[in-house]
Structures are given as structure tokens and as C-alpha cells.
Symmetry: C2
Subunit: 576 residues, 2 copies
């Protein structure tokens, strides 16, 4: 309760005296902005905490509360047949069950293969250990499980090249694996593909202070890169809850988004170069460190977001922004979604160059977090408001940013866009605000089973889908809408006590059809993986899909790289 009391409400209002409060504080209360020194520690500390909590909540091997859900998963799974012929793949929930037929053109591992790999990698990097393989075969959400009998852990590009060249000749299917934190079944085997884990390629190769360009191996863990850059006075242009485990190569392979995208843009803008190995072992050296290079087709963009199906990323060159010292965080309430929209427009205009996050939560998200997470408090009591918006600013001057934020809030309150709000006064408050937003996934897992969708939609249409889904499902499931509103990225999640085919039938294909109708994307930041490979036509035209298939065949003639993912397997098999 002490901590609760200590919370300093800055722009709270329950009546029209709001403006008085704001100004009153300005003169009579201590400044509410933390200083740059404490902020540096704070960012590291609360992000680390959040990351740990998030990982604990998502990693099935460390999380006890997930056990019951895992049981549910198994309960809900469909029949799994022989690995050598046909198989009904397990799809627990979140999408209609997917039927995958094993590609019989792929070879199975034999003792000669093992000998070959041991010869080039050494015994210790050819992994048979059952426990390690179980971990590597299973995705974080325990929705997908492969049956690979072999994991390879190369230490160099040359080794990756040798592995792929061999696999290509032998027609051995492979799954590239980074931190295995993906949410769409893209980073685990479907059958018995060889797992190529990149974790040992974790060296930082160079960092240039003038250009801010970092060059490193693909297996570097995102958080380690962030720590390294922190000492150099820079930051990574992306930040994810999974950063304690996910690897930069995997981030780039999946074109990961996260909370900094609204400020620093996508990886297509920030990745300056890549080294990647094609299915036949060819090493593509595109590891430029230049901001500008117009010498022909920029092929690294084919690899970015291809989810390991066109090549394995081995090295990375990435533009990192200087670390700016001032960070502010406001937790605001809005009465309706239209106000949130207008607030976003105002924030872009008034906060301009310092706006670094604009996150949305609806009241159902807040309810969920308050009911299922220990120690989380409503920052704007007594009631739960219809919508919450988390706005972060990042800039080079504390007083400037504070002035901008306060002027923006003053104006937004005056025009009625905000019904209540608070600015974090210190690291603990900021941490507690982010905990609400980043704790939603954890709370959802505690609440029951989930049907989860990661969608991009035009901002003005984004919440219409949540409301339509709510109408559609009635009392059968809770419908929660939250996400990176600044990027038009909605996380739509249906929560129910147990898995029910009838609920799924109400959700799919409706959710994809609705998204497609509004020219949205069925995967904003998670990728297609195995989960949505067959749904690609909802977001891509037949001509574009056909060209993707042609490019896949051009770069990976035997289809050995991450098979069954990204593209409908039927197209790869049938179209010659």
C-alpha cells in the first residue's frame, strides 16, 4: 500500500479542475521527470525485469503456471500419425487445425550423415541429447512440436555453408533456429527436419561510433547487443519482450517489430547489410555497412522477413541510433476509440520527433491484468476506463520533452480527448505502467486458453474488428484488443476457460476475411510460420504469391529450408 500511495498522480482529473491540477503541479510539486542518469539504469532495469517476466510467462520450460494450459493443449490436439508418411499436425488453438502432408522427397538422417556432420562440426556440436532436442523441437507457446533427432550448432559461416551444401545434396530438410521465441510455429521442425541452431555464432564483429553501425553474428542475443551498445551510448532500433532469448538473426529473419518501430522504423530501413547462406551452401556476402548503396537489386530485403525459408542469416550489419537521455511515460484514459485516434494524430503532430511509443489497451485488457497479475494496480482508479493509451517520448533534452508532453496533454485534455491520466514520476512508476501493457500476454495465459491474432489494420478500422468479434462471440469468450496503435498493429485475443471448436469456427475465417476486406495484414509482426502459411492469400494477391513461390524455387530448388512454412505447401509441390 505504501508503494501505491507513493504514486504521484500528475494529470488526474475527475472534474473540470484538470487544468488547475496540471498547472498547480508545475509550480508547487517537484518535477516529475527522472534524470538521464537514473533513466539509463531504469530502462535497463525495468526492461530486463519485463523481459524476464515475459519469458517466464511464455517459456514452457520455466513456467509452472503454464502447465495446466499445456495439458489443455494436449487435450485439444488432433491425432498425430506416422512421421514417415502422413501426419495430422497438432494445432491446439488460435487457428483451424492444419493438415500437413510430409514431403516424402526429403531423406531421413542416417549414420553417414551423422559422421559427416561430426567431421565438420566436431562431436559436441552435433546434438542428440533428448532433453535438448525436446526443447528445440517445441515452440514457446507449446502449440507446435516437431520430432527432429538432430540439432547442429555451427560456429562459423563456413560451417553453415558446409552443412547446407551437404543437406542440399542429400535432400535433408532443415529448420534454422535462433532463440525459438516465435509465435507462429516458424522456428521448430514440423517433422524430423535437422535443426540448425545459430546460438554459437554470437560474436560482435565491429561497432563504429561515427556511423553507429554494428556488425555481429546472427546468433547474438538481442539483449546482449543492447547491453553492449549501452556502453557505447547507442541503442538497438528494435526492442521486444523476448529480447533476453531472441537472436538478431531470428529478429531479421522474421522482420520483428516491437515497441520502437513507431520511432525508428522497420528492419528493412535499419538493416544495412547481411551475410546469408543459401540452401545450396552459397554464401551471399551483402554485409555492407553503408547507409546508401544503389548498386543493383537490394537482395538483403528478400531475406529479411523470409522466416529462414530462403537462406540462413549468418552475419548482420545494423544501423543503431544514439541513446537519448530523456524518456517520459504517460498513462492516459480515453472515453472512446475515436478519441484514441485523434490523440494519436495530435501526438504525431505535437510530440513529433520525440514520440517513441503509442500503445493501446482496452478496458477488457486492463481488467484481465488487474485480475490475474500479482501486484498490478490500476493507475487511474477508482473505475476502469474504456481505453488506455501509453505514450512514451524519447529525446535529447529532458526539459524540452517534458514541456512538449505537458503542452500536448494540456491541449488534449482541453479538447476532451483524454478523460484522465498520469505521468510516471520515476523508474518504479514507469516500470509499473509498462508492466500493465507488457503483462497482458501473461495475464491471458493465466485466464484460460487463448485464440490469438496479430493483425495490421488501418488505424480508423482497428477497433471495429474487436467490437464485431465481441458481438459475434457473445458470452462464449472474452475479446481483448490491445497493441502498437502507433503502427496500426492490433493484437486481438479471444480468451475462454477451455478450448472449443465452436468458438474457433466463429473466429476463423471471419477474422481473416474481415482483415482482408479492409486491406489489412493477417500478420503484422509475427510472420506466417506454419500457423498462417495456408492463409497467405488473405493478405497477398495470387500473382504475388506465385512470384514468391517462383523465388523460393529459384533460391531453394529442393525446398529444404524451413519446409511447410510461409508458403502453402500445396503450391510449392504442385506448381512445378
Amino acid at each position: 500500500m505504501e508503494k501505491r500511495k507513493a504514486t504521484c498522480y500528475v494529470i488526474r482529473r475527475s472534474s473540470k479542475c484538470l487544468f488547475d491540477h496540471l498547472f498547480h503541479r508545475t509550480f508547487d510539486e517537484p518535477p516529475l521527470q527522472w534524470n538521464s542518469g537514473s533513466m539509463r539504469n531504469f530502462v535497463g532495469a525495468f526492461k530486463q525485469l519485463s523481459s524476464q517476466v515475459e519469458q517466464a510467462s511464455r517459456n514452457p520450460f520455466t513456467s509452472s503456471y503454464l502447465s495446466s494450459n499445456v495439458a489443455d493443449f494436449n487435450h485439444a490436439s488432433t491425432t498425430k500419425c506416422s512421421q514417415r508418411s502422413f501426419s495430422l499436425w497438432r494445432r491446439f488453438y488460435g487457428s483451424a487445425a492444419t493438415l500437413i502432408q510430409k514431403n516424402l522427397a526429403f531423406s531421413d538422417i542416417n549414420s553417414d550423415d551423422i559422421s559427416y556432420f561430426k567431421n565438420i562440426l566436431g562431436d559436441e556440436n552435433v546434438v542428440h541429447d533428448a532433453d535438448r532436442l525436446q526443447v528445440a523441437n517445441t515452440d514457446w507457446l507449446h502449440q507446435y512440436k516437431g520430432s527432429s533427432k538432430l540439432m547442429l550448432t555451427p560456429r562459423s559461416t563456413e560451417e553453415v555453408s558446409q552443412i547446407l551444401k551437404y543437406c542440399s545434396t542429400r535432400c535433408l530438410a532443415v529448420v534454422p533456429q535462433g532463440g525459438n521465441t516465435g509465435l507462429v510455429g516458424g522456428s521448430v521442425p514440423v517433422f524430423n527436419e535437422v535443426i540448425i541452431n545459430m546460438g554459437l555464432m554470437n560474436k560482435i564483429i565491429s561497432f563504429d561510433q561515427v556511423s553507429g553501425v554494428l556488425v555481429c553474428e546472427a546468433g547474438c542475443i538481442l539483449e546482449n547487443l543492447e547491453s553492449f551498445l549501452d556502453n557505447e551510448g547507442f541503442i538497438m532500433p528494435l526492442d521486444l519482450a523476448a529480447k533476453g532469448s531472441c537472436q538478431i538473426g531470428g529478429n531479421i529473419s522474421t522482420n520483428a517489430g516491437g515497441v520502437r518501430l513507431v520511432c525508428y522504423g522497420s528492419l528493412h530501413g535499419n538493416v544495412l547489410g547481411l551475410e546469408a547462406v543459401l540452401a545450396n551452401g552459397t554464401v551471399l556476402d551483402m554485409l555492407g555497412t553503408l547507409r546508401k548503396d544503389n548498386t543493383g537489386y537490394d537482395l538483403k530485403h528478400l531475406i529479411i522477413g523470409s522466416e529462414g525459408s530462403l537462406g540462413i542469416i549468418t552475419k548482420v550489419s545494423i544501423l543503431t541510433p544514439p541513446k537519448l537521455s530523456a524518456i517520459n511515460l504517460a498513462f492516459l484514459a480515453c472515453n472512446d476509440y475515436l478519441s484514441c485516434q485523434k490523440l494519436l494524430l495530435e501526438a504525431k503532430r505535437k510530440l513529433g520527433e520525440v514520440l517513441s511509443a503509442f500503445e493501446l489497451l482496452d478496458s477488457q485488457s486492463m481488467d484481465l491484468v488487474l485480475n490475474h497479475l500479482e501486484g498490478v494496480r490500476n493507475p487511474l482508479p477508482p473505475s476502469v476506463h474504456n481505453f488506455y493509451v501509453l505514450i512514451e517520448t524519447t529525446g535529447s533534452d529532458e526539459s524540452h520533452d517534458k514541456e512538449k508532453l505537458e503542452a500536448f496533454l494540456f491541449c488534449s485534455m482541453g479538447s476532451g480527448l483524454i478523460s484522465d491520466g498520469v505521468i510516471a514520476q520515476d523508474i518504479n512508476q514507469a516500470s509499473s505502467f509498462w508492466r500493465i501493457r507488457e503483462g497482458i500476454s501473461e495475464a491471458l495465459m493465466k485466464a484460460g486458453v487463448i485464440y490469438s491474432y496479430d493483425l495490421s489494420l488501418p488505424v480508423e478500422k482497428m477497433y471495429d474488428l474487436v467490437e464485431e468479434m465481441r458481438m459475434r462471440l457473445g458470452h462464449s469468450a472474452k475479446v481483448i484488443g490491445f497493441g502498437h496503435m502507433g503502427d496500426g498493429n492490433l493484437h486481438l485475443v479471444m480468451s475462454a476457460p477451455k478450448y472449443d471448436d465452436a468458438i474457433l469456427a466463429q473466429i476463423e475465417p471471419f477474422v481473416y476475411e474481415w482483415t482482408s476486406k479492409h486491406r489489412g495484414s493477417i500478420s503484422a509482426e509475427h510472420g506466417l510460420g506454419l500457423m498462417k502459411a495456408n492463409e497467405i492469400h488473405y493478405s497477398k494477391s495470387p500473382e504475388v504469391v506465385q512470384l514468391m513461390v517462383s523465388i523460393k524455387k529459384l533460391l531453394d530448388a529442393n525446398g529444404i529450408l524451413n519446409p511447410y512454412k510461409v508458403l502453402p505447401h500445396s503450391l510449392l509441390r504442385l506448381s512445378g
Copy 2:
């Protein structure tokens, strides 16, 4: 002289009393920042002026002073043979003479073709007029001239598709053409290719205030889009001197850079969607308007920067930033290049989120402009300094940005990085500063013939090349170095009274070898076009070039799209 006297020197110093000057001004002189209202007009006005001047200086059809140079070009040209068999292509200067063999697989236009095109496009959009064809056959610098007898001006994607489908069947080579402002011979025919001019596809399709996403046809002129957005309170994320003529489709096809890249990033980050037509007439609808879309390979990136050789862009979706009201411009002098480097690092750190341009000029560039352009004055007399840096800030709050800039300048002067400097007080001063930077090309054209190179290099190595070149050439040519230092983009230009093979032999291949050795790019922002197609190996590995060739063949089996450009023709012909 009145105007000259009116210039307000803000941070001038010739002694150690610099800091006194700075602080003195702060309190005793009027503020030197223009207000947001006047700034809006100013930006439009001086950019328009710069653009007009730049165009006048570069467009051979409106510029009288270029005539003598054109004569020089012709004098220096190599033999031109029959268009129907072999031809030595004219290369006047700027690279070693290029020998191009016409691809005899291409058909020549016949009367049936003309009838077909008139049938689908109407008579008025099938252009035979000699004057219009002469313009369309010649590039801006008069370095390249084709002999096309036919220009088509489609009005819709469907028409572009019909044209290409037909050309593909008939094996008629085509050259997509936007504003024809390219500098590497990419936008004009080499022989008698059909020109497809996109100028009539110039409609704005939609603009969304919330997301800032503009959707338009490819033939929209950049400046028209800028004007449209100005009324909406937004700006284009790119700005070029040629913006009065260049088209957005051409900008994206060439992945154009410009002065805003340091702030808003490249077109790979800002282009959200494209519609493009492939060589066989297939329309690729990738015209998404979403900031995030991870549904498979992002094929629009293949088209961006492919210089019309993989497809013709017909529609564009682009993320536009809100127009921020405060702009400051400082013109600074440095004693040595190391100081410029350190200044860049300091600017990135101290100006952070408001740094919007960081341009470099050496003393030779300044000399040239002062000697050859009317009405241009040295902003920092009496002497010419070794280096000049133009720093622009763009932000949402005038007083904040001014404070940041002054603090940065104060610190940089204190540490000796700046030897002199001035902040523009009003629109006229800002315009005169930009005129110096943007007038270099014009001054170069007046001074004689030029050997021009657009290079990306690591910032710390950038000026070494200029100095080495100066040593190498001695008194035979002046060597000028300037460019977008914030992006590591050097414009290296050698200026001589007349063309001389011996000078060229001193420059090439040395300049490419040096660039390659330092992992630079032989084309930062201009593309490869015809000029550098055969030099691609200096910036790309054989494996990457081979994959480009394979992709070219996959998307354009007969090679009809912009032949002889981007990739070495020999590879396209020989590699199956």
C-alpha cells in the same frame, strides 16, 4: 551589398572571444530563428528556387550556358556505328568508354505494332513527334542519347499491362521513363527501345491524415506531391534538387536519396506499398498502406532501386511525416576533416532527434561556387576555410530547437571543432546558404567538363579519397569533394577545361578500386544505369551478381525491360 551587410553573423569568431559573441547575441540581439509561419513559406520558396536553378543548370533544353559543354561532349564522343548491328556507345566523360552490343533478339517496331498501340492507347498517346522524341531520347546531362522512334504514354495500369504483354510477345525492348532526371543513363534508350513515359499517370489516389499514408500514381511529380502534402500538414520523406521534374515512380525505381535521408531514412523504409507491372504484363498488387505486414517475402523491395529493369511501377503508397514547424540552418567552418567527423558525431548526439541535414563542402567547392555563380557570397569572409558544414534542424518547437542548436554550437566551438560559423536569420539567409550547397553542380558545369562520381564510403575514409585523387591528378584537374556527409555519401568531381582521356585513365578504375577496397559503394544514390552496369563487381560479390541475374531472368525472361542497364549485359547474354 545591402543584402550582404544585412547578414547577421551569429557565431563568427576570429579570436577566442567566440563564446562572448554567442552569449552576447543571446541577450542583446533579436532572436535569429524565423517563426513557423514564415518558415513554411520559406521552405517552399527557397526549395522551389533551388529546384528551378538546379533544373535550369542541369536540363540541357533550357540552359544556354550548357551549349558549349554539349559541343565538348560531341567532340569527345566516340564513334557511333549502325543501330542495327553493333554500336560503340557514346560515353563522353565520367567513365571509361562503354562498348555496347545491341541485342539482336529484340524486334524493331513495325506498322502493326503502331496500330496495336494506337488501338489500346489512342492516337495521341502514341508519340512519333521528332522534337518530343529527341527530348525523351536524351538524358539531362547530354551524356547519353538513344534513337527510339516511339514513345507511349499510358494513362492506367491496365494500359501499361497491355503494352508490356504485347512487347513481351513481340520481343520489343522498352525503357520506362519518369522525369528523365537520372544521372547514369538509366532513363533513356540505348538503341531504339520503346519509351514508356509515365507522365500521364499523375493522380493522387488517397491521403490518410491519421496514418500519413499517401497513395498515388507513379507519374506524380515529386514537387506536386510536396505541394499537396503541404496543405495537409505533411511532407514527403525525400527531397531532391530535381523535384520539379522527377516523378515518384522514378524516385522509387532508382531508390533516390537526397537531403532528407539522414532524418527520415531510405525509401526501403518509407515506401509501404507498390503496384508494378512485370515484363509479361502481370500486375503485382502490393499496394498496401500498412506500416507492418509480415506475410511472406516483401517483394516490393526487389522493385525499389531496380531502375525499371524488373518491372514498371504504376502506383505507390508512401509514409509521409508530419510537417514540423521549426527549421534552423547553420553554416559552419572547420579547419580539417577530422573536425567535421567529430562534429557529425556530436551533432547526432546533441541534436539527436532534430538533426535533419548534415552536408559537407570543401574549400575547392566553395571556391568554385564563389567564382562561377552570380550573387553567391562567402558567408564566412574574409578567407575561404578548409571545410564547410551545413547543419539543418527540424523540430516541432522553435525555442527548443534553437536552444539545442546553440548548446551544440557552443560546445563544438569550445572544443575547437568549429573555426567559424553563422546561423541563418531568415528565409533569405537560409536560401543563400542552401544555394551554395545546391549550386555546386551548376558551378561545375560552368567551370568546364566534369568527371563525376557518386560514392558511399565509411565517413572516416570519405575524404581520404579526395586527397589521394588530388595527389594523383596534380594540376591536370581540380578535385572537388562535397556531399551528404551525414549519410557517408561523397560526391567526388574532377573539373578540367576540356575532356582528356589521360585524365580519365588516372581516375578509372582507380576510383572504383579504392571504393571497393574500403567496402564502399560505387553508387550511393544515383544507381548504376548504363554508366556503371559493367562496374557492378566493385560493389557486389560474384555470388550476389549471379543471383541478381537469375532474378532478372525469372522476372523478365526476354530481358525487354530497360536492357543494357544495371547488370553487365554480357552476364545476361552468356549465363543461359
